[in-house]
């Protein structure tokens, strides 16, 4: 596949540097010789089929997996918004507990007034102040992800990692979340990596697109360079599917 692929200006301050990184799990190479960088405030969509190595790469960036070769350098903190399925939904907790847990790095038995205020401020910034005392089990899909976004923001990150954050969220909630995340990226000069299988989400958010397949970075360029290519679009999002998928099928 030969495509025009415009890289970010290397003279800009890098928030993330992934330099010839390979990752092996159990002797099997999952990510192979991947290199890219993300400048401050850039919103990147990371695409690729299931099993391409996207989640493995993100885990290595977050320090959860070691690299077998190469180096990952982060300037600042990483904020992580996971898929909704990863946590114990029946856990007795309120939104404020989750946000304060991110601030402390441990689960809070009690919450100090200043921590409560900080959590309220961050939630208010993304229009979720009313969710502060809501039990996590009572939150809708969109509300849950809003709380997880606040949880990521409360640590003052320089890079947001958004791992299919709108999966299972209804169409309206998905549009609101994507708008919120791109807005934050612009206003706070917050770099972001959004993993998604949804072409509409990519078209709505991406300032740059990376396409990973079989552990290798095949494409890295601007949306108009890559989304216009039938071959890449078909590979990444399914043949002929140029439209948003129905809610819950992302």
């Amino acid at each position: 596949m030969t495509l025009a692929q415009t890289r970010p200006d290397p003279s800009l301050a890098h928030v993330l540097d992934v330099d010839h990184v390979s990752i092996a799990i159990g002797g099997k190479t999952i990510v192979e010789d991947v290199s890219f960088w993300i400048p401050k405030g850039e919103f990147v969509c990371l695409c690729g089929p299931n099993g391409a190595g996207k989640s493995t790469l993100l885990k290595a960036i977050m320090g959860l997996l070691p690299t077998s070769a190469g180096a990952i350098t982060i300037d600042g903190r990483v904020g992580y918004v996971p898929q909704r399925k990863g946590f114990a939904r029946d856990f007795p907790a309120r939104a404020v507990d989750l946000i304060v847990a991110a601030m402390r790095g441990t689960w809070p038995a009690s919450i100090r007034a200043e921590e409560h205020e900080r959590a309220r401020t961050v939630l208010a910034k993304i229009g979720g102040e009313h969710l502060l005392g809501t039990p996590i089990a009572d939150l809708s899909g969109g509300e849950t992800q809003r709380v997880f976004l606040a949880r990521a923001l409360v640590t003052d990150p320089t890079l947001l990692i958004l791992d299919e954050p709108t999966a299972g969220v209804d169409a309206r909630g998905r549009a609101e979340l994507l708008e919120l995340m791109t807005g934050l990226s612009r206003s706070d000069e917050l770099a972001a990596i959004l993993v998604t299988h949804n072409l509409a989400a990519v078209a709505q958010t991406a300032e740059r697109i990376m396409y990973l397949e079989a552990g290798r970075l095949l494409c890295w360029g601007l949306p108009h360079e890559l989304l216009g290519q039938e071959s890449l679009t078909a590979l990444a999002f399914g043949a002929g599917d140029h439209h948003a998928q129905p809610a819950g099928e992302e």
């Binding site: 959860l64 114990a88 007795p92 309120r94 989750l98 991110a102 038995a109 009690s110």
Partner: protein
């Protein structure tokens, strides 16, 4: 009031009360994490593993009291095995526990069967159903010591354990050693269950782990309050049950558990009305 507390004039009732409070407190606190981790069946599984360990000890010539020292490492290894299967396979906790529970109990029955007529007599019924009123001063010391150590350890690790159970991935990103904590919780539960088996028996020990935690989960909205409430319910139910069993002349452990079950029914009704 004096009539109510009259049973505590007896030495055996004082020992029973201390043992009941210690077992109820530590099981309730650990139970909050075990239940939240989706391992409600774990207490039952480990109690049956303890039976296997005690049977091996008896086969080797130890008394029931001393066989506990063989049962503790045996049950801890079984707990680690359950943890390994949980982390390394797609099997759910109840499946992993069920397999190890069957293995350990079968091993226990096998070793009891291998004993000869010359071997020391064993009251299998008291092993299965416990006898809180027959707790000796030596056993009481072990029960209290293990309960205090386990409670202190759980309280020290509470914040990290809670985070690891809520979301292992987010906890790991925050630097919480999730795998270590999970194995530690399993081994801690194993040790507590083996010691508790000496007082409440193999069959009923899991009730002390599961029911107070389940009641608390129905009534409160934060894990900290659930932990505190489970502790209070466990201890209150144990003390009321012990005194009631004396006056009603009913089996002690069963009376305690039935009181806990009555509280659970009340909590369930209250929780349904609240919705």
């Amino acid at each position: 009031m004096s009539w109510l507390l009259a049973p505590l004039a007896y030495d055996f009732m004082q020992r029973a009360m201390i043992a009941a409070l210690a077992v109820a407190a530590v099981c309730a606190v650990i139970g909050v994490f075990v239940v939240q981790r989706g391992l409600a069946f774990l207490g039952d599984g480990l109690a049956h593993a303890a039976f296997g360990g005690i049977a091996i000890g008896l086969y080797l010539g130890a008394s029931v009291d001393h066989a506990v020292w063989i049962a503790i490492p045996f049950t801890a290894v079984i707990a680690l095995g359950i943890g390994y299967v949980l982390r390394r396979t797609q099997l759910r906790g109840d499946v992993a526990t069920g397999v190890f529970f069957s293995f350990s109990f079968a091993l226990g029955v096998l070793f009891l069967g291998l004993r000869t007529a010359q071997d020391r007599q064993v009251d299998v019924e008291s092993l299965l159903f416990g006898n809180m009123l027959a707790v000796t001063p030596e056993v009481l010391i072990v029960v209290v010591l293990v309960a205090v150590l386990a409670l202190v350890l759980t309280m020290l690790l509470w914040s990290r354990l809670a985070y690891a159970i809520f979301d292992p991935e987010l906890a790991a990103i925050s630097g919480v050693p999730v795998a270590v904590l999970e194995y530690l919780l399993l081994v801690e539960t194993a040790v507590v269950v083996v010691v508790a088996v000496k007082t409440v028996g193999v069959v009923l020990v899991s009730s002390f782990v599961v029911i107070p935690a389940a009641i608390a989960r129905l009534l409160v909205r934060t894990l900290a309050r659930a932990t505190a409430l489970a502790l209070v319910i466990g201890v209150a139910g144990a003390s009321v049950g012990l005194i009631a069993s004396f006056h009603l002349d009913t089996p002690t452990t069963a009376t305690i558990i039935l009181i806990h079950c009555a509280v659970f029914a009340g909590a369930l009704a209250w929780a349904r009305r609240r919705r």
